[in-house]
């Protein structure tokens, strides 16, 4: 979707309203598909089965064992519907083939619209169920609530996200807004100007870069007021915004911040909660869009007439603000490209969160249990990181190793996954 917006910009073309709505409709289904997998398959087992439960039990199988088969069936069924919606609109669920410079290849048929309208109430209900589960299984469990509110998973940084004209969360289009650790707006810009606002620091030990706020300058991996590090994930998006643009998601947003003591929230585990609020927003927005009669407008493409040159596309990916920047020759062949993907934004925060969690849970002279690995993993799992997107590396396994060192720096124990 970001590449679609970037090529619109390369050809200097404004797409028709129906094309923008179709892209957003597709994208809401995509967002739901991604957030659902993360919560139910990756995040919820930590809370429902237990953060230090053996890996053989701490997975979606264990979750279904605890919560019941009906929930598992719903997850599979609703995820299938999200895929069907994407395929219906975009031709293919993964790697859609209908986004073109100037719009999309085809309008939505009346029949497909009716099918999606039929799916919408179930999708909204499914998203509400996720929040109810979180309430019942996590918030009503003192140990888990303590885990969320404790200082093992806390990181105080700036926050970034796209907002609409009322500063509400938006995924497909909007203005980039940045707030400081106290929630005060410190930057706001059109995505096309990102190079004036964000820079990327390089460390010799990693080929994943470390983005930071340019106007503050690189301050190192430092948290607190004055840091140039920002986070861009579900919690960051909610911290940046004044609220949600749909009613049920707004109520869930209000409940989250009133429970957690106001905005911004720096407790990283609240990201799971924020992800569920976003899931509900995506479902409600999907329902709104498919009810909009303009979605059937057959005018879905403007044929570009200018010579292509350079363009930027920015969206909110499930994992954070996603920027695509292309430079092309006069034929539209890309000669240079720069991408800042969702996970790249969070590289510094992930590093810092892992370090803090390790320091907290290992402790001085304490016993190091196998469960420690998962407690550390939980610190970066909240970001739902896509290191393969961010680094273009696919090692095919989780190469997580924890080295326990004594005060002299000597490794006294190594624990591997």
């Amino acid at each position: 979707m970001a590449s679609g917006k970037a090529v619109d910009a390369v050809y200097k073309v404004k797409i028709p309203p129906a094309a923008a709505k179709l892209r957003e409709l597709y994208y809401m289904a995509h967002f739901m598909h991604s957030h659902t997998a993360h919560f139910y398959a990756l995040a919820a087992p930590d809370f429902v089965v237990g953060p230090d439960a053996p890996p053989a039990e701490r997975n979606i199988l264990g979750l279904v064992g605890k919560v019941g088969l009906d929930l598992g069936k719903q997850v599979i069924r609703q995820r299938e519907i999200m895929q069907v919606v994407q395929q219906m609109i975009g031709g293919r669920a993964t790697h859609p083939v209908w986004c073109l410079p100037g719009g999309v290849t085809r309008p939505l048929t009346r029949e497909d619209r009716e099918t999606i309208k039929g799916f919408a109430p179930g999708l909204v209900g499914f998203a509400e169920l996720g929040l109810k589960l979180f309430d019942d299984l996590v918030l009503k469990n003192k140990a888990y609530l303590d885990l969320i509110l404790g200082d093992g998973y806390e990181l105080v940084t700036n926050y970034m996200g796209l907002v609409d004209e009322k500063n509400r969360v938006t995924f497909y289009d909007g203005t980039v807004r940045v707030v400081d650790p106290e929630g005060k707006e410190i930057d706001r810009y059109d995505g096309a100007d990102y190079l004036d606002h964000v820079a990327e620091h390089v460390e010799p030990y990693s080929y994943l870069k470390f983005p930071f706020l340019k106007k503050i300058g690189w301050q190192g991996l430092k948290e607190g007021k004055g840091t140039s590090i920002y986070q861009a994930a579900p919690l960051a998006r909610l911290n940046v915004a004044s609220g949600m643009a749909t009613p049920k998601a707004q109520a869930a947003y209000d409940k989250m911040y009133s429970t957690l003591g106001g905005k911004p929230v720096h407790k990283l585990m609240a990201t799971h909660w924020a992800r569920l609020v976003e899931l509900l927003y995506a479902a409600e927005r999907l329902a709104e869009l498919v009810e909009d009669d303009e979605i059937l407008d057959p005018n879905v493409r403007v044929i570009p007439s200018t010579t292509p040159s350079e363009g930027v596309g920015v969206i909110e990916a499930p994992r954070g603000t996603l920027t695509h920047h292309y430079w092309t020759d006069e034929r539209g062949i890309v000669t240079k490209a720069n991408l800042i993907v969702g996970t790249t934004n969070n590289n510094a925060p992930i590093s810092m969160a892992v370090k803090k969690a390790a320091a907290k849970f290992i402790g001085k002279g304490g016993e190091v249990k196998q469960g420690l690995l998962n407690m550390v993993e939980m610190a970066f799992r909240i970001y739902d990181p896509c290191f393969s997107c961010a680094t273009h590396s696919l090692p095919g396994q989780m190469p997580l190793t924890v080295e326990i060192r004594d005060a002299s720096g000597e490794t006294i124990r190594t624990v591997s996954r």
Binding site: A37, H38, L61, H95, G396
Partner: protein, 168 residues
């Protein structure tokens, strides 16, 4: 026996598309004998695709250390936690997906065979496979079609026990 042949991969990433190309070649050969589908999916999404079948053949790209491009590995679900596609931060692996489907009381295939074709290049943005991988698609298609249609056929696949490098 209700059979599905599922080609997985990405046709714009060179050899990563081998499963899709093999599935396309099998579609006509197996008409009436098996359902042939192609997908760019993994994990949870495979449950819906596989449920309702007695037997499933999955064709995908694989990248193992030290193996010759074009080598075809024949595997069972328990063997494949090592493939990039099926080990992701974002999703569950095939073994878990099959087990989850069974626990949810879906009629999942009781026989699942995975053909993994060792890639030479699965990172270059390009349609079509390298010569080494392209060269085995015909024989792989013959093996799968022969097995499903129970006719004499040559076998080019090898088990993981026949790997040249067993470390990875």
């Amino acid at each position: 026996m209700k059979t599905i042949v599922l080609g997985l991969g990405n046709t714009i990433l060179s050899d990563d598309g081998v499963g899709i190309y093999a599935a396309r070649a099998l579609a006509d050969l197996l008409r009436g004998a098996a359902d042939v589908r192609e997908a760019e999916l993994a994990g949870l999404d495979l449950i819906e695709m596989l449920k309702g079948y007695d037997r499933a053949y999955i064709i995908d790209a694989i990248q193992l250390d030290g193996e010759a491009p074009g080598t075809v590995f024949r595997m069972r679900p328990d063997d494949i936690r090592i493939t990039p596609r099926l080990a992701s931060f974002h999703d569950i692996d095939l073994v878990t997906a099959l087990e989850l489907g069974r626990r949810l009381e879906f009629p999942m295939p009781h026989e699942v065979v995975i053909f993994g074709v060792q890639v030479e290049d699965a990172l270059t943005l390009k349609e079509g496979c390298t010569a080494a991988v392209e060269g085995v698609i015909g024989a792989l298609v013959e093996e799968i079609a022969g097995e499903i249609m129970e006719r004499p056929h040559a076998e080019i696949s090898v088990g993981l026990s026949g790997r040249r490098n067993r470390r990875a």
